[in-house]
Symmetry: D2
Subunit: 128 residues, 4 copies
C-alpha cells in the first residue's frame, strides 16, 4: 500500500478485460544489443505489449522508472498529451553504462488511475 | 524487487545500527491541523524521526513521494547539497485538498544507497 | 523559447485579465524565520498571491522548482487533483540548509497550459 | 536568473575550454524518421555532440526536458552513476505523437554544477 501491481503472463489470464488491464499497464524492458562492461547500453521500456493505454487528461501514464535491483537508474515523466491523447504505448529509451557483471533491471510504470505496475525483472549478463 | 522496505517500530529492534538504519530512512507523515473537506491541508513528510540521514554526494535522500492509497499526490526531488551536505532530516510540506471522507496517506522515500522506504499509513478522517 | 515568463508587479498592470494571468502563474517565495548558517530553513513557494489557479485535468500547476542562483535545490511535482480539482494556490515548503552567507532564491512554476513562470528573486542574508 | 545558457555554434568559439564547456552541456535533438501526424515519433536528446560530460557524484547531468514551444512533453531524470561515473553523453529517446502540422522542439539539460542549458530549436514539419 500503495499496492505494487506485478505483471503476470496474460496467457494464464482468462478474462479479456483483465488481460487488457494487466498488459497495458505493465512495463516491458528490452535491452538493445549486447551489454559490455563500461559501454553505453540502450534500455527501452515500453508500457503494454499487446494492449495500448489511454493518454487522456484524467488517465495517462505519468512516469516510467528504471531500477537495477534497488537502485534507481533513471525516471521519465510525461504529461497527458505527450502521446497526442490517443491510446498508445508510452515508451522511453534510457542509455545506461554497466560497470559490473550483472544487471537486474526492473521497471515501474505509474498510471494516474491504476497506480504502480512492476515489470518482470530482466537479468542482463554483462560481457567484459 | 526493487524491495520496498517498510517501517517497523524501532522499539522492537535490538541492534542500534539497525534502529538507525530503519529510522533514518523511514518517512514520517504529519498532518497539520484538522482535515476538512474541500479545504487545504498541509501534510509534512520528514525522513527519520530520531536519527538523521547523510546528505553526501554519493548517499542522499533523492525523493519523497506522497500517496493517497494507490494515487500519487505529489513528489519532491532533491539534489545532494540541498541539506548542506550535513546529516539531516529531509523534509517537505505538501498542500493537498481532500474531497472525500477519508485519506489513506502513505509516503515513499528514496535513498540513493538503500532504495525505497515506505512509511506506516496514516488514515485521515476528513470532516464535512 | 520555451519562454520564461517573469513576474511583473500587477499594480502596474491595467487589464484585470492580465493581472489575474500573471499573478496566478507566478511563484511567491517566503522564507520562514531567520536564516542561520548550517541550520535548517523552511522556504515556502506558493503559486499566486491574490489570484488562484485551476487544478483541472487539462490545466494545472505541474511543478514548482526552487533554485539558489543557477543551482536547483529542490523540485515538487503535482498531478491534477492534488488540489481537489478546485482553484487554489499550489504550495510547497522545502527545507534547505544554507552553508554560505547569501542565498539568491528564485522559483519556477510550470503550468501545463501557460508554460514556465519565474518568481522575483529573493536575496537571503544568512547569519553566522 | 537562473540563467538559461544557450547553445552557440562552437566553430565560432576560439578557446578550447569554452568549446568544451558549451558543447558538453548542450542538448542536441535528433528526430528519428519522418514525422507523420498521429503517428509515434522517436525524439532523441543527447547531451554534448563532440565533448563528453562527467558523471561524477558532485557533477552530473541530472535531467533532460523536452518542450514543444512552451509545452513540456517529457522529462528524464538521472542519478550520478547512471553512466557508470564515466565521462559520457547522457542520452534519452522519448516517443511522442504529434497531432498538429509543426513542432517546435527545444530541450533543456540541467548540470548540477553549471545550471540549465538550452538546445537550438528544431522545427519539425509534420506530414498529414
Amino acid at each position: 500500500m500503495p499496492k505494487i501491481n506485478k505483471y503476470v503472463d496474460i496467457d494464464t489470464v482468462e478474462r479479456e478485460a483483465k488481460k487488457d488491464l494487466i498488459d497495458r499497464h505493465s512495463p516491458f524492458i528490452t535491452v538493445e544489443g549486447v551489454a559490455k562492461k563500461c559501454e553505453m547500453l540502450p534500455v527501452k521500456v515500453k508500457m503494454g505489449n499487446e494492449y495500448t493505454h489511454p493518454d487522456d487528461f484524467d488517465h495517462y501514464i505519468e512516469s516510467i522508472t528504471l531500477f537495477d535491483g534497488e537502485t534507481k537508474l533513471a525516471m521519465a515523466t510525461f504529461v497527458p498529451g505527450t502521446l497526442g491523447n490517443e491510446k498508445s504505448h508510452a515508451e522511453v529509451t534510457f542509455n545506461i553504462r554497466p560497470m559490473k557483471n550483472k544487471l537486474n533491471l526492473i521497471a515501474h510504470g505509474y498510471c494516474t488511475k491504476h497506480g504502480i505496475w512492476e515489470s518482470t525483472p530482466v537479468v542482463v549478463e554483462v560481457a567484459e
